[in-house]
């Protein structure tokens, strides 16, 4: 079998648009998933039963439904009522899905901070929110960075599913090109390398954050 890599150079602009779409959708979904995840994570450790229940229901539901099914459902069912474009359906679908996992990471990070920290903060007269903000969360952030890195990498890779609602991301570009050029080995190899570059860059970025947040020096 002979390889012909010229299919890559000739279609480089297409790959660039695909990478750009994958990056923007992943990034926007990340921006959606962080606040949702942090709030749901805080709810899960709240003293109020109702908040704990809402957060648990959210996490269990979105963690339990396959992303593919969720994206299709949001676009075809929810999207019809809310007039969501495929683009925003993809962003919210990915964001809400990923937020459920972020919530669990946040919860475990908060619970990994020793109980005495909350007690010391409350004993000094801080409110629960103040104690969270100034004492617990800054410590939890350091504990959650490694699992967060994994979650964000998964998010980038999961974004390849948005092609099912006709978003032309990197995977869709590849699929289309393969259909017209039949150079599937060259194209999918190149696409795998591109995904790797994105996720490796992301994990280096988070490793940098981890070093910056180290607390004992």
């Amino acid at each position: 079998m002979t390889m012909n890599w010229s299919v890559i150079y000739r279609n480089l602009p297409l790959f660039v648009t695909g990478v750009r779409m994958t990056l923007t959708i992943s990034f926007l979904a990340l921006l959606v998933s962080i606040p949702i995840g942090v709030i749901a994570g805080l709810f899960r450790v709240s003293r109020l039963r109702s908040l704990r229940f809402v957060a648990a229901a959210y996490v269990e539901f979105f963690r339990g439904v396959p992303l593919l099914v969720l994206l299709i459902w949001i676009f075809f069912v929810l999207g019809r009522f809310l007039r969501l474009t495929p683009y925003w359906s993809a962003v919210f679908g990915l964001g809400i899905f990923s937020g459920a996992f972020v919530a669990e990471i946040v919860r475990s990070g908060i619970q990994a901070v020793p109980r005495g920290q909350m007690e010391a903060a409350r004993a000094s007269g801080m409110t629960w929110l103040q104690a969270m903000r100034y004492v617990i969360l800054p410590q939890a952030v350091r504990k959650v960075l490694p699992p967060m890195a994994s979650q964000f990498i998964i998010l980038v890779k999961d974004s390849s599913l948005v092609s099912v609602i006709s978003i032309v991301d990197l995977s869709m570009v590849a699929k289309n090109l393969v259909a017209t050029t039949f150079r599937s080995i060259e194209i999918w190899t190149f696409v795998a390398v591109l995904y790797f570059c994105i996720t490796y860059g992301l994990s280096q970025l988070i490793a940098l954050c981890e070093r910056r947040f180290r607390m004992d020096h």
Binding site: R122, A123, G125, Y134, V135, R142
Partner: protein, 248 residues
Amino acid sequence: MSQSETIISFRNVSKNFGSLEVLKNISIDIPKSQVFGFIGPSGAGKSTIVRTVNALEGIDGGEIRVDGIPVHAPSTDLNRLRANIGFVSQSFNLYPHLRVLENVALAPVKVKKLPRGEAEERSASILRTLGLGDKMDVFPTRLSGGQQQRVAIARALAMEPRIMIFDEPTSALDPELIKEVLDAIRSLLATGITMLLVTHEMNFAREICDTIVFMADGEILETGKPEQFFRAPKTGRAQDFLSAILNR
């Protein structure tokens, strides 16, 4: 020592952990500026009783008043009350992500809303008094246990509390580090601050306390002057406890 006004009062206070009664119908008045030492065998309820004063522990019956304010009433502003009660536990619980000075100044800035400069100035002067002037910019993990506990004391004092609670402040320390912490506590005597001290350091309790409260099984069995208590305890439980602990 004049009998001054009461600052903390317990009226028929009870508390259960499930079916276990950890506080049984406790009534006691603690006058202002006095040092009360709580001693007794483990499981007596000593830690629990002092932790109910700032509502770190809830109660199931009775009433506790601090400065006339019912601590456990739902209408009480607990955060405001706690700002006036310093609390030092056996596990220090310094904030590991903040430097020593930031540890001490955090609550004055966030709770008392002091300007940061003023809070840090005051915190620095407290740290210097406790011999920690050269540690202000280090992180707590770099300190010995004794130094960490002194920072915890400074952190509590920075709020200018009217009451200090020490819950076994030296129990987690290596023996050679205990003295520096006891010295720090002793240095507070001159300020006239009201202190509640749970401790197993009998000599220290005898030296600094105005009143010894002996507890066992959730009850106060004896209350008295240290001299009288340590020389001639009235109850059998106290006699057994003291002979076990002093004749090691």
